[in-house]
């Protein structure tokens, strides 16, 4: 009896149709695969990408050199030197992040009392030689200046959860 059933089943290509139905279902279903770099995945406002240093609206750098990010960094990727600026304020004379050490945990951002060091949505960057991914203060500030609009929007979206 079994033999007869399987004979007809294979004769009518039922298995094939079953398999093809899965293919057909996915053929018409919405696509999940993203065609990077033509397409990109959506990001949350808490995305932790490349670091940036922010400024206030009047152009003053936010960082006050409290070194909390340096202290909290589990990868020891941050190096800071601080001195008194001419106007008597406490400012960094050096603020380096070694992105090769960084594990993008976001602790630096979380520890910052003035929202100066932030992680942006940028994840597409590279270095062509050793040392290229050692970011210094001017580099970080430049990132901040370029993407301030997006950064501010993301902080505002996150504000109510903090």
């Amino acid at each position: 009896m079994k033999k007869i059933v399987s004979f007809f089943k294979s004769f009518l290509l039922l298995e094939l149709l079953k398999g093809m139905s899965v293919t057909g279902r996915y053929f018409f279903a919405p696509h999940i695969t993203v065609q990077y770099p033509d397409e990109k995945t959506p990001q949350g406002f808490r995305f932790r990408g490349l670091h940036a240093q922010r400024r206030y609206e009047n152009g003053e750098e936010r960082c006050i050199g409290c070194k909390l990010c340096e202290a909290v960094c589990p990868a020891l990727a941050i190096h800071i030197e601080v001195a008194e600026r001419e106007d008597g304020t406490r400012r960094t004379t050096r603020y380096d992040i070694d992105l090769m050490k960084c594990i993008f945990c976001g602790f630096c951002e979380e520890s910052c009392p003035v929202d100066a060091i932030v992680e942006t949505r940028i994840y597409e960057y590279h270095g062509e030689k050793r040392g290229d991914l050692y970011y210094t203060k001017p580099m970080l500030l430049a990132v901040g200046d370029k993407y301030e609009e997006q950064i501010a929007k993301d902080r505002a979206a996150d504000a109510k959860y903090r």
Partner: protein, 782 residues
Amino acid sequence: MINIEIDGKKIATESGSTVIEAAHEAGIYIPHFCYHKKLSIAANCRMCLVEVEKAPKPLPACATPVAEGMKVHTNSAQAVKAQKGVMEFLLVNHPLDCPICDQGGECELQDLAVGYGASASRYQEEKRVVLPKDIGPLVSAEEMSRCINCTRCVRFGQEIGGQMELGQAFRGEHAEIMSFLGEQVDSELSGNMIDLCPVGALTSKPFRYTARSWELSRRRSVSPHDGMGSNLAVQVKDNRVMRVLPLENEEINECWLSDKDRFSYEALSAPERLTRPMVRQDGKWQEVSWQVALEYVANGLSQISGGAGAAHIGALATPHSTLEELYLLQKLLRGIGSSNVDFRLRQSDFSMDGKQAGVPWLGMPLAEINNADRFLLVGSFLRKDHPLLASRVRQAVKHGAQANVVHSADDDLLMHVANKAIVAPDAMVDLLAQILKALATEKQASVDAAVQGVSVGSEAAAIAASLAQGKNVAVLLGNFAQQHPQAAQLQLLAQQIATLAGGKFGFLGEAANSVGGYLAQAVPGAAGLNAGAMLAAPRKAYLLLNTEVELDCHDPQQAQAAMYAADMVVALSAYKHHASDYADVLLPIAPFTETSGTFINTEGRVQSFKGTVKPLGEARPAWKVLRVLGNLLKLPGFDYDDSESVRDEALGGVAVAGKLNNGLSGITLQLPSAASSGLQRVSDVPIYAADAVVRRAASLQATHDAAVPRAVMHGEELKKLNLPPGSEVKLSQGAGSVRLNVAADDRLPLGVVRVAAGHAATAQLGAMFGTIVVEATSGSGA
């Protein structure tokens, strides 16, 4: 003993102690801000409120004396509620600037806010603002809004510093800490206020914004400055000394530190640091390798000892050098065959050499100074020369001791001085003789025949009367007396006074290793020339260890002449200095933070320390330099592997205590016949000019104590010379002269001019004592 119970723990404590003391003794912590074990009780922060059974409301533990059967709860609902309430009030006006506050990370308020503070403030109104104040180059009062008005700084000034330089003005919310009429804080102990401040209101100016407390590693060291040998906690980051804090040692510095010890670290990274060996070739300085420099020195020394003879080589070291350095220096010199080695550069009377029973020292442990009830301070700028020792004397005086002073200048000691005799330097011996005679009369004892002839003045009689009543007399000879041309006579008389009064006699050690120098045998002995003789009869070669002759020697004129006349001068120094004019080789050596070593303080305590950071550049510890130099000269016994073995050899395995002895025999008392004519020089070594390190500490050099020296005279002397105060005068001694401004000080005796030594502005003058000529310059005078 009183039995109390704290948090259910039964404690027996002494009557008269307070609840907080009893609790801390039993290991129960009670939060506090204004309470400090060394200061009086203010009870104004209210943080230490605890519940005491049968008391209607919480009581401050710091101001509540223990009573029999008392039951205290530090953690009950009532106590915790009170503490939380106090904390909320303290935080009401405290700015939220911990991220930029230098105290952040070591702040008592921050720590206790974690334990007792709420997570958010309910206070919505404006916070109070206290304007910043400038109180000098050492202590920063930039952020006085942070102040919680605990008044520790005010009480420190009143009780320990002896001088109330900060006070609390206004009331309630307007209360603020300020100095008087915008004056600067000039106390030589002012840095302790920074440690005492529980918040970040008073912070260290040199340290401002340079590091955070959690980045610093803490290493033990010993102060290389005055004779106390204060214990230091040197805080280091990235191989650089960032700041220095006191290391508590109840027997030496307690929990304090003088500003000299605290802020001198700035000089360790001064631009004048010598970092490479240098040799002068054809009149030009050239940087060379250690090998070349040391071979040059070894060859030069062998040539001179082979030619003119080893006796033509001399070595001068400062008593700020370590025991190991001094020991190897003398071993090197004696190895070549010369005994011309000395560390007593500012001493002028060497007649006691060979007659001393042992190593001169304080004569008692430092802690015993607090127990003395009568002091005779002979020739000491106590406050400036030994700031923390002065504080101990001050505490004793506060508890009823009488201080008697014999000196040539009447600087304010910031304590009650019972009797004083301020006389010209050449009258000091006579004055001590008067005191001795008067004391003998009081005690009905026989006295040296030489003293019988003196007529006792009223001042001497008063001092003798004070000493005669004492049960615990301390007769102390200061730096000025030790540098005096009749130092041996002063010692002899002071010693007899001490014996007659049944008290103790001692020397206030000038420098960190004034005792250690003797133990290292860095003294010439019978065969060699002492510091004075070595310069009076110039040698062909000099080895200078840490020495800047124009600033460290008794007679800078003579010393410089000897240096210029010498064929070879080898300067081992941590700094580039004036030696580049006369030296042939400069060898960079490591200052105290960069070498291991030993200082033996004035009470004979042997304190060894390790290096805290690596030597800067190519500088090397001096003991290593001397060891290699010994090897190059092929001297036996220079195979040390570490400084500990040098120390053990230097001390010979014998307890130091057995070698300390102030006894003097074979010197006869000789009173000076007649007073010299003309103006006499009185020299102090200003506090921030005493050694090579402090001279280069930038912030200390910005204080009032480091101002350019002036020629100070009694007002009448000025009138006699027709000089208005502030005018410029020409001071001459021997061949040299300098121009300084004059100032009047009517507390000085007549016939003297006070001109500081150890300062570049007076380096062209002669000996620290003796006659000096004062002339008006054209353009001054009337």
